[in-house]
Amino acid sequence: MQKSLHIDPNKCTGCLQCEMACAWENHRSFTIAKSRIKVFSFHEEARFVPYTCTQCDEAWCQLACPTEAIKLDPVTGAKIVLDPTCVGCKVCTIACPFGTINYVASTGKVQKCDLCGGAPACAKACPTGAITFVDADWTGLDKMRQWAGKTDTNPATV
């Protein structure tokens, strides 16, 4: 079963444990400036929204890369950046419609979510279940269940 990250912004409290977990996984540092997942705060709307790469099937970052430094991990479905091949040209950062691949000045390479090889640290660190790693074919299952539960199938008993 292929899995994908699933984000439920309603559950996010903005604690940034996910950002620290990501930075730790990839840089052995808690400095969230290095995180590949970002939580956005829409203050006046009282909303926090975690956001990262959704691993497009037709990945424009991959198509745009002139050095073929972005390749598919066939097991996880993640598009991963090959550091030795990446020349830091940043064309992928222009191609990505969502902004989820970004240049890292200190390494001279781009970085993006690679699903941590199949065990995403952000999902593990999230204390509220706002970020989960679930069956890629059924990311809507929980929401379906919620609405299913509201379906009044036997009004006579009320």
Binding site: N10, L16, F30, T31, H43, A46, P127
Partner: protein, 616 residues
């Protein structure tokens, strides 16, 4: 090592920013944050200094767990000599600012002198500079934060700033970071204003500034700690659902919710302003006050309230800038803005709280001072002509107006901004000021809870609930249940709470974890993060050392045993209603024993033996 081992020293008079190594020996003796900054302050500042003079210093400080995955590991403190109390002031805040300072590579920023013109301090990793803030003077914290981010084209900058209250010399002005988190008490914002320092803005991107000493052990300890918080009824359910406002009805029913300037120990409007009420749909627009809960950096509890006001409420009817969501009332704010002066209009409280955040002033001291003013008005000592409005008990209109005036130091707000001690003294009724060492009580009656009474009298920063939270044993039964009116064992329990709290405040984590965590949960996290051996015994000794050093600063400042007291109302006027009816605070029976368990003389001075034991 969990310290960056770097201190940024900023001389505002000369306009210089210099990096210096952290005194690592002191870090071993005082851990970090509250303790470490206290050591620096005591070493560098004459305790007799005028708090608003150039010679006072203002220290922003993080702890070893700040900026780590330890739950709630995002705290920072501001330490200085406080203008409200004349005692040491130490105010603790969450939000995201503290961790960012650590990511930029700094354990501590020491601000000294006074800038000839308004400036803000801009820190970009290792680079620090003072930037002209003339255009920000006279502006709110909300405006300041937004303007600084825009000016540097960096929305990821974190800002801690003062609003107009800090500029206007409100003696309980706060420093506000991330729009609605605050180093709230004791007037640290007034000291910042006196230095012409508008803001500290930080962006931190370093990956090698600090490291936890033993990563594997650290994650084991941190994960165990998070599991304890999640499984605990208070931190796992009560706080995320109701925030600290979970306490409003509990404390009221116990008869320890002071109201009407402590004339009463219960408030008939408690239910209308408590945590449950924030969830209820308003009859006016069908929407609840509370929109959702929010977390500070790294916090897996998420007690923060995010509220949206009824846009048709009289206080904001034509002010769309307050129609969006923002920081809602916590328990202490709801009590002070509400019960302390009899106001039971949750929307008015929320608006006043917004103003406290927007212009940076402490809702506890503000609300309690309004309560004192209302009593003066009730007694006919203050008149409508003098105040500029009717100051009747429970008037939401008066509360709102006074908040607006105090925020900018206008009209009668100028007097309210000096706190209730100075207000009541001015009108010849000093005994009506519900303060200790000049700082207003928070939301627990020292008659209803004897241990809290003793805590208020002995707290190093004046009346305060977050220095030794005796509510835990006296109400919640943590770690053991003690009867509210009991006296036996309270001094020793209070000492243990005060020492443990000093450790928590010095580690970089939030005190609210201790609803669930004991030292046995905290120690492994510190041990794994920090180099050296940090046993529970050593940590408690560090806590005790911090408490005693603060005490010595205060003694040096001229405070003494005579200041370890309570207003006569708490000592002689019995509570009139509720389960604690008839109670006064038996401070005289507890204080001598407290001094004894502290190892202090009968005059409240640490004995030579105590000083030696604590290596002071």
């Amino acid at each position: 090592m969990a310290w960056t081992k770097k201190v940024l020293r900023v001389n505002l008079t000369a306009g210089t920013c210099v990096a210096e190594p952290l005194n690592a020996e002191w870090a071993q003796d005082y851990l970090g944050q509250r303790g470490l900054a206290t050591k620096y302050l005591c070493a560098e500042v004459d305790p007799k200094v005028d708090p608003l003079a150039e010679a006072n210093k203002l220290i922003f400080v993080t702890g070893p767990l700040t900026g780590t995955m330890a739950a709630t590991g995002g705290r920072y403190s501001v330490v200085t000599k406080g203008p409200l109390t004349g005692a040491i002031a130490c105010s603790n805040s969450g939000g995201y600012f503290g961790a960012e300072l650590k990511f930029a590579g700094w354990d501590m920023v020491i601000l000294e002198g006074r800038s000839p013109k308004p400036v803000y301090l801009l820190i970009n990793d290792g680079k620090a500079e003072l930037v002209d803030a003339t255009h920000l003077w006279g502006k709110t914290t909300w405006h300041t934060e937004e303007t600084i981010k825009k000016a540097h084209q960096d929305p990821q900058i974190r800002v801690a700033s003062i609003g107009r209250a800090g500029e206007a010399g409100v003696l309980y002005a706060a420093i506000v970071n991330d729009l609605h988190r605050a180093a709230g008490r004791s007037g640290v914002g007034a000291v910042m204003g006196s230095k012409n320092l508008k803001a500290v803005a930080v962006r931190g991107t370093l990956t090698d500034a600090y490291q936890v000493a033993h990563p594997e052990a650290f994650f084991t300890a941190v994960d165990a700690g998070k599991a304890v918080l999640a499984a605990n009824g208070v931190t796992g359910v009560g706080l995320p659902t109701y925030g600290t406002q979970v306490l409003m009805n509990i404390i009221n029913e116990l008869g320890a919710l002071p109201s009407y300037n402590h004339r009463e120990g219960q408030f008939e409007g408690a239910n209308a302003i408590g945590g449950e009420a924030m969830h209820e749909k308003r009859p006016t627009d069908g929407k609840p006050n509370l929109v959702k809960n929010g977390a500070c950096f790294g916090c897996t509890i998420a007690c923060g309230r995010i509220s949206r006001m009824d846009p048709n409420h009289f206080s904001v009817k034509d002010k769309p800038q307050y129609h969006g969501a923002s920081g809602g009332v916590e328990y202490e704010a709801a009590w002070a803005l509400g019960a302390a002066n009899g106001v039971s209009d949750l929307e008015a409280l929320t608006y006043a709280n917004f103003l406290c955040n927007e212009d940076g002033f402490d809702p506890i001291s503000f609300g309690a001072t309004v309560g004192a003013a209302m009593e003066l008005y009730d007694l006919g000592i203050l008149t409508e002509a003098e105040v500029g409005l009717k100051l009747t008990w429970g008037s939401a209109e008066a509360l709102v107006k006074l908040a607006e005036w105090t925020a900018v130091g206008e009209g009668f707000g100028k007097l309210i901004g000096l706190g209730s001690k100075r207000l009541c003294a001015k009108y010849g009724r000093p005994e009506l000021s519900m303060t200790v060492k000049g700082q207003e009580f928070p939301a627990y009656d020292g008659r209803g809870l004897q241990g809290m009474g003793l805590q208020y009298a002995t707290s190093n920063r004046g009346a305060c609930h977050v220095r030794g939270y005796m509510v835990s044993p006296e109400v919640l039964g943590i770690p053991v249940k003690m009867e509210p009116q009991a006296i036996e064992g309270k001094p020793a329990m209070l000492k243990a709470f005060q020492d443990l709290t000093a450790v928590v405040d010095s580690a970089g984590i939030c005190l609210f974890t201790t609803f669930a965590w004991g030292l046995q949960d905290i120690q492994p996290q510190i041990q794994a993060a920090c180099e050296g051996d940090w046993s529970e015994e050593r940590l408690l000794l560090v806590g005790e050392r911090i408490w005693n050093l603060e005490r010595e600063f205060n003694l040096g400042a001229g405070l003494s045993k005579k200041d370890d007291t309570l207003p006569p109302r708490l000592l002689t006027e019995p509570l009139k209603t509720g389960p604690q009816k008839g109670a006064v605070c038996h401070l005289d029976k507890m204080l001598p024993e407290y001094y004894e368990v502290r190892g202090w003389s009968a005059d409240g001075v640490p004995t030579p033996a105590t000083r030696t034991r604590l290596s002071l």
